[in-house]
Symmetry: C2
Subunit: 339 residues, 2 copies
């Protein structure tokens, strides 16, 4: 049995789903992968909690649903530094919500973990977008894993395919529907709803955030695209290199006239390598039924890789919810300790 210590940073929807999944999957993890994952500490903005026997996770999750128990569990004095024991070679599970410009506080967490010799899996995109090269290089130099499936499409296996299944190919382009909220809005508009109506509906269903600007202005798509293209295509891209057209300009009329021509409008992020030149963009594009992403509707996502030797390879689906993101974090952890 491989005993692995985990420290969970962030206890929002994804962090909670991850802790729940650890409980739910404990037996499978031991039996199928020989992996005993022991959650040692959990942090959120108001403090941390150190878990001595792992079974405390149960109490922690219950505590969250019973506000009365809440405050007694969280210690505002507990520091991440104290939990990332040097040489323990555990995994930091980073689920904080960081600033998109500075990448903080997640950037600091990840740097600290790598410095202490801990592997990292992260659902937090911003630290990676801010300092992708640095973090990847630090991890590689120290022989540590930096798993970011959950930040780059979550349950959509974008990175596994881009880095593993396409090993040995030249990836000439990636093209994807990478944001569930905007794809849902486009799908509903295609069914006759107006933009504002579709957005309100997405918010009411918990698909869109109360402040949906990151999604509908294309930044979320651009960030995921950056992570996927940088790693799978081996590029040194910055967010500024990606030309982003916000979705807000779209009209029901445009959708209708595309449909009449047998086309579908999709909010596509793409990076292409053509004659040595790299172009990146996030744009509303009309695609024909023969396009592999034509049928990707609702909150679904999809990504196509164009390669030299394997042709076009596409992945679609994968749950766009906290449980899907938590499952992607868990998958990255399992794959660190495999073989």
């Amino acid at each position: 049995m491989n005993d692995v210590d985990l420290v969970l940073m962030g206890f929002g929807n994804v962090g909670r789903a991850f802790a729940g999944l650890l409980l739910e999957k404990r037996h499978i993890l031991e039996k199928r992968y020989g992996l005993s994952l022991r959650l040692r500490a959990v942090f959120r903005s108001t403090g941390g909690i150190a878990l001595k026997p792992s079974s405390l996770v149960d109490r922690l999750l219950t505590g969250e649903t019973r506000p009365a128990n809440k405050s007694s569990l969280w210690d505002p004095e507990l520091r991440l530094e104290a939990s990332l024991v040097r040489g323990a070679r555990g995994v930091l599970v980073e689920c904080a919500a960081s600033d998109s410009r500075t990448g903080e506080p997640g950037l600091g967490h990840i740097r600290l973990a790598l410095a202490r010799g801990w592997n990292v899996v992260t659902a937090d995109k911003e630290p990676l977008v801010a300092c992708f090269r640095e973090l990847r290089q630090t991890a590689a130099r120290k022989g540590l894993a930096l798993g970011f499936s959950a930040a780059a499409g979550a349950a959509l296996p974008a990175l596994d395919v881009g880095l593993g299944s396409l090993a040995g190919t030249e990836i000439e382009a990636v093209e994807g529907i990478l944001n569930g909220t905007t794809n849902y809005i486009l799908t509903r508009m295609g069914q006759g709803a107006g933009f504002d109506e579709a957005l309100r509906e997405a918010q009411a269903k918990g698909i869109a955030e109360p402040d949906p600007s990151r999604d509908i202005e294309g930044r979320d798509t651009a960030m995921k695209l950056l992570l996927i293209a940088s790693s799978a295509m081996g590029l040194s891209l910055r967010l500024d290199d990606i030309e982003v057209e916000p979705l807000t300009g779209i009209s029901s009329k445009a959708l209708e006239s595309a449909r009449k021509e047998g086309l579908a409008l999709k909010y596509l992020g793409s990076v292409r390598r053509e004659k040595g030149r790299i172009t990146g963009e996030v744009k509303i594009r009309a695609i024909p039924p023969s396009h592999p992403l034509f049928g990707v509707d609702g909150t679904n996502k999809g990504l196509t890789f164009l390669t030299d030797t394997m042709g076009a390879v596409t992945v679609t689906g994968g749950k766009s919810d906290p449980r899907g993101a938590a499952a992607a974090l868990l998958k990255d952890i399992i794959n660190i300790y495999r073989r």
Copy 2:
């Protein structure tokens, strides 16, 4: 640099494409993966050829296109036993065409390689279908890799996703269009061609074999399904457990009436786990536009996994040609020596 010896068994379309890819990708393999792959010997039914300096591959490939040089290169006395040097820890690249009942001669090649401590990657399905459990267990016990992406969908990343990207999930079902020939026939029939016409067309284009029975009777789909479901779902399936309906029964009329209802007929292989019961079948099924495989046309393939935590995850595309299969062999080799 990681120096790895290769022995190639089989020099048909896939074997030749693989040898060509080794030449084409030599620099990428060294630069990107630190991997120097040295082809030490090549075998086909009429004999073998031992390659001293690796550059002989060039002559070998040229020799194939110049019949005059052919016979002088192949030594009918050379044996696989002599090339699989014990302890060398190279890779046997198995591309023979084996018997579907006995799995021979490929089964013997793979057993010998594993016994000698060599890793194996194979495009030859039959030995795996015949003795899947035995070969997997032998490889695992000896800490050797048995890569069979090329046998289970080739450039379609079916196994990588099933085994790697879905780690930690429960796969409740797999459902796929796994044979390019029959999908091409269905697509052409949907465009108005008759069955015989579509089949002849596929044969003329080199998509279908001169004897297409393995494809149109569903055995090729069933074999790939068996390999994918057995490994990704952890099942002990035999080929007899899969109920196979041949494609030959299909009429243009059935396709037309499905289309009128907005459905598409696909030749689907599926394995489901329901209430502890496993069912496997290869059947013509009518699927709606919301199905992730609805748009998979022509020689394309596609596979959907239904999971507990990640929802439905689908892979589509990947070239259905010898180069795509060769690229899948190469990918498996790269991933053996990674990290």
